[in-house]
Symmetry: C2
DNA sequence: GCATTTACCTAAGCCCTATAGGCAAGGGCT
DNA sequence: AGCCCTTGCCTATAGGGCTTAGGTAAATGC
């Protein structure tokens, strides 16, 4: 009887979980589904993961990291509205290309895990694109929160199909929204 | 043996489900939990609900209705920035007072159900507060989407605890955000 | 007062999570 | 090479949630 080991690891399971999330939704990411995908018994996964919560947490951290990388790449060498647009588009594009991972990135992490995650890079990068608008504290924090709300809210509502009922293209609303944000931030500028 | 009927109905189950959602989170709303709450066997609930999906849908519709009522009440007799603020505050206040119901309101509905839900009132009311800003189409649609994104995004991130790491009060960021939106919309005004 | 409806029940099956304990393949050591 | 022992994957088991089938007794209608 030739028994080949499946070669599992927390990393491979995390990646497969991320793919499964994009295909079927983050709520469909279960240890059972993953075990089926690797043609392995469910109990075997517990050698690599403490429980299903750890799997979800790992996928969330992976997604946050991946998204932060893309945003960093997009923003590099840009400033002002150019940076704002690049950031926003990278964010929205990721949410559309990887809906399951994006959903995973919103998975509730405990404070310690969150503090050690790429979530802090997101906040830093948001602050970075605001440099072009010359905002003093606490305005800068307010702006970070407003931008985060718009980006997340838009991606979230768009993913939920909320913008498909009207025949106005979501693309145009997005550009219009970014223009408005830019104008609003310029209006807040200290200078 | 005195057997008293529990007096269940889809409505009572929906309300109890909404309360349970606020107490423990929408994902904790299960038929099992509800059956325990009414001291009844799980199978008994199937006389009143087709399945667990129907329960969640009913809670979602209930929350949408309730939220629409509050918003309608808040914006009545107001216009311009006054209306915008009243709308936004009613929205955010509901999300904070009833986190589980708010989460339920984002439950994915099939197109027909969504079309018959209070979700359309939300869109109408959003358009109504924009009357004070004199926007022509398609700007009006763009603005509806932007406002929806900000309101939902802010409530969502705030509920997830995203604004509790900095010592700047969320209250102030909210006011700042509304001011910025008002300014942006005034800047878009056709006149 | 009887028939029908219906509110709630037991029983059973399926899926997902989780733990305990077993076996054999592979890597490290002599 | 041969041995040990780590460990990757297994079976078995248990508990909880969802759902359906089919039964019984309370409530309702005539």
């Amino acid at each position: 009887m030739v028994v080949v080991r499946a070669g599992l690891s927390a990393e491979r399971l995390t990646l497969a979980g991320a793919e499964l999330a994009d295909e079927a939704g983050f709520d469909q990411v279960t240890l059972s589904a993953l075990a089926r995908r690797f043609d392995v018994r469910v109990a075997s996964l517990y050698s690599h993961l403490k429980n299903s919560h750890e799997l979800k947490t790992r996928i969330a951290l992976f997604a946050l990291e991946e998204l932060a990388d893309r945003v960093a790449d997009a923003v590099a060498g840009r400033a002002g509205k150019d940076a704002l647009t690049a950031f926003a588009n990278a964010y929205r594009d990721y949410a559309r290309a990887h809906p399951g991972r994006y959903e995973a990135a919103r998975y509730r992490l405990d404070p310690q895990t969150a503090a050690a995650s790429a979530g802090v890079r997101h906040a830093q990068m948001t602050r970075a694109i605001l440099r072009g608008y010359d905002l003093a504290e606490p305005d800068q924090t307010h702006a970070v929160r407003m931008l985060g709300s718009v980006f997340h809210g838009y991606a979230s509502l768009e993913a939920a199909g909320g913008f498909s009922h009207t025949d106005v293209a979501s693309e145009e609303s997005w550009a219009w929204t970014l223009d408005s944000l830019d104008a609003a931030l310029r209006g807040r500028s200290a200078s």
